[in-house]
Subunit: 446 residues, 2 copies
């Protein structure tokens, strides 16, 4: 399109553009136009001056890049940040987190936890996230209200929570939420069976059938620890991923979260089915769960996304730290400093996430016609100077606080670090009340 | 002392105090008084009201703790942040970093790199750092001018740099710098023989003798990689740490930096000599160097400090990220989620550093009579809410940008994130010039 024919809502003049497509390219002296919910132009600065724009945004020391995609978390659990630390996965879940959730995880808990999580995620560059938590209807409505793009996986367990009493109810209520948001452009609702060790085979098979009928994503914790695998082998003689495959659960719409302690056969199954892996390096390290072999997976053609997991096991929802940890951990694990270079770490949080979501057509890169999910990161601070390569700076030196602007579907949800939809003081007051309430019951649950 | 008898320059009223002594304690409803360069009182809020203070500082959502100690770095190399990434240690040094330094590392390079490093370190809570770089006279003078506490290790190599042409000159110039700063209360100058593989045995023995005569610290890279150890074994049949011990270099004034790939005999030597270990987890991961077994060392009574290493191999000088990585890495390495809990990670960056510096009498904790090196960290942001335990928040959720105030020797070097001595715009302009100059020669050196 001729620049003169473009009517832009925003015309961004950044120092650098990191479009992700073409891969490895950094543009200087270019501009980005956003029109409605789409990217309408990426072109040399001089040519951009012909574009009629409602708002021109000078970003003289900023890198502009696709909004980051956090492909695994439990937003509601932000209210349990730092509630219990330095414990292995199962005691942490069974003796601390699940009892606290049993006592407190109400609709309001889900709504306030979601708002806290979104505030943190937007401030650190995330524009899309994948979530699995009770009261997914509340989570989805909150995200929609706050202008945040997300995939909400409704939970399925074989035990009751305050949201549903049995597996049938999880599925029927979940399908209702899926239906409720089927026309949303921001929120998609998918299946979130928790894990092979908390959902029986029959129920997993049912989820596989329903997800296939609805052509919908399945988001599942898988091979989070070696112990999980050993326990399954003891019971069934089968590795959990093989069980999922036998039940028809693995496919190009499946997001397998964690995936530590893999053997070649596991990776072969991922390759042959086209299932995606969501790497959660900080959570896996903090819970001493193990290591997801990201470099091996990528080398074999498996798509890998990245997630923070919840603020209770991380303890932040900051993808900048997560990308750095992913890069560092891959190098350590492979004893190879060239493993997962900066550009590949950024891929996990952009195109890798978009592909896992089945939204590579619209998300994960800055390309004309894609959705205008865009962030600006100011690299002028002493923490990120000098800049030889903005991609290195983004992955190895940014801590997230340098993100200044965020657009989701072309809407400016953060401007000079001010959030459009979230009143931090009011939110802080509500979080303070949750802190008091939860602390008061801590001795009885912890 | 009776509160009425205290004349304080600053009286801090924080929400929490994390004094580090007594260990594991968090005080609420208490205040801290700073008088001259010392902490003059820590007492209940009500009693503190009797103190006459020039300035009362309300910190209603802040944790106050000892300023952090970064026990290993090369501040000048901040100008090479992101210059070369995703490479193993030796090619990274030999093909990129050392050639760039050979071309550019002048007095002005050392001064500007130091100022950039100090800006970043103060903004992320560091009040004391240990450095090893060429032109230590310039580095020391710059730190002194900027009110920053540091230990400057003058380098000793067997090859020439722009600062000195041979080993004799490194030592004689270094001793002159040591002498020049012997009355400084902020800067101490110590011996910085680079590593056993870059300094001959005779020269190391000389350093040991001189350091002993002057009762001065030795700061040395040691066992950074398994390859370094294997190479030494090939040449001498001896592990590098054993060589240092034979040469009389190991003792309670020795700081051994990195210390990966350790065997029991190595650890026994650390225990028997009282030498200190400086753990650099992010640099070790990024260069795929290996893992320092922090939990084992601490269990056997070895004192462990923490360092970022340079911004060229990290790529930041942020001890908050470093503490988190240390905790996560220890858990992963030991396959034990209880390893290096948050309080112990904070110990590395406070008392562990103070002990390594031989300054446990004056640094590393908030105690009456100790030096007033104090930071305030605002935990009110969504990234660090709610707060069940401020120590967990500091280690697992803070990214450094929450540090609002910093006092060094009782002087407020940062106030509401404004630096007292550094003009960031002017510094940024100088860094921009370095960037242009270094980029112009990049193709010929890289």
């Amino acid at each position: 399109m001729n620049p003169q024919e473009i009517q832009a809502d925003y015309l961004l003049h950044p120092r650098w553009i990191v479009p992700m497509v073409p891969y490895g390219v950094v543009l200087e002296g270019h501009s980005v136009a956003l029109s409605g919910d789409r990217i309408s132009a990426i072109l040399p600065r001089a040519e951009s001056l012909g574009i009629a724009a409602d708002e021109v945004v000078d970003l003289p020391s900023h890198a502009v890049l696709p909004g980051l995609i956090n492909s695994h978390g439990h937003a509601g659990m932000s209210l349990l940040r730092g509630y219990a630390d330095d414990l292995p996965l199962m005691p942490w879940l069974e003796q601390h987190i699940w009892p606290a959730e049993k006592t407190h995880a109400s609709e309001q808990f889900a709504a306030d936890g979601m708002e806290l999580a979104i505030a943190e995620m937007v401030r650190s560059g995330t524009t899309t996230f994948c979530d699995q938590f009770v009261f997914p209807d509340v989570g989805a409505a909150t995200a929609q209200r706050l202008g945040m793009r997300c995939q909400i996986a409704f939970p399925v367990w074989n035990f009751p929570t305050r949201w549903a009493s049995d597996t049938d109810e999880y599925i029927s209520k979940g399908l209702a939420v899926h239906d409720q948001f089927k026309h949303s452009t921001l929120v998609s609702v998918v299946f979130g069976p928790h894990a092979p060790y908390t959902v029986a085979e029959d129920d997993l098979a049912r989820v596989a059938t329903l997800a296939s009928e609805l052509d919908t994503v399945i988001h599942i914790h898988l091979h989070e620890t070696a112990a999980e695998i050993l326990q399954a082998m003891d019971v069934s003689g089968e590795r959990p991923i093989s069980t999922l495959h036998r039940l028809g659960l693995l496919g190009p719409r499946t997001q397998c979260v964690h995936m530590t302690a893999l053997i070649d056969e596991d990776i072969d199954l991922l390759v042959s089915t086209g299932a995606h892996v969501v790497h959660c390096p900080q959570s896996n390290m903090k819970l001493a769960s193990g290591i997801c072999p990201v470099s091996d997976l990528r080398a074999k053609g498996v798509n890998v996304a990245i997630g923070t997991d919840s603020a209770a096991s991380n303890n932040d929802l900051n993808l900048f730290g997560e990308m750095q940890t992913a890069a560092l951990l891959a190098k350590l694990h492979g004893r190879d400093a060239t493993a997962l270079p900066a550009a590949d770490a950024l891929h996990l949080a952009t195109l890798g996430g978009a592909r896992a979501l089945g939204r590579e057509d619209a998300l994960g890169s800055l390309e004309v016609g894609k959705l205008a999910d865009v962030i600006a990161v100011d690299l002028s601070g002493p923490e990120t100077q000098p800049v030889y390569n903005p991609v290195s700076q983004l992955v190895y030196a940014c801590n997230g606080s340098q993100v200044t602007h965020s657009w989701i579907a072309g809407e400016a949800v953060m401007w000079q670090r001010e959030l459009k939809y979230i009143d931090l003081a009011a939110l802080g007051a509500r979080i303070g009340e949750w802190h008091q309430r939860i602390s008061a019951t801590k001795s009885s649950t912890a």
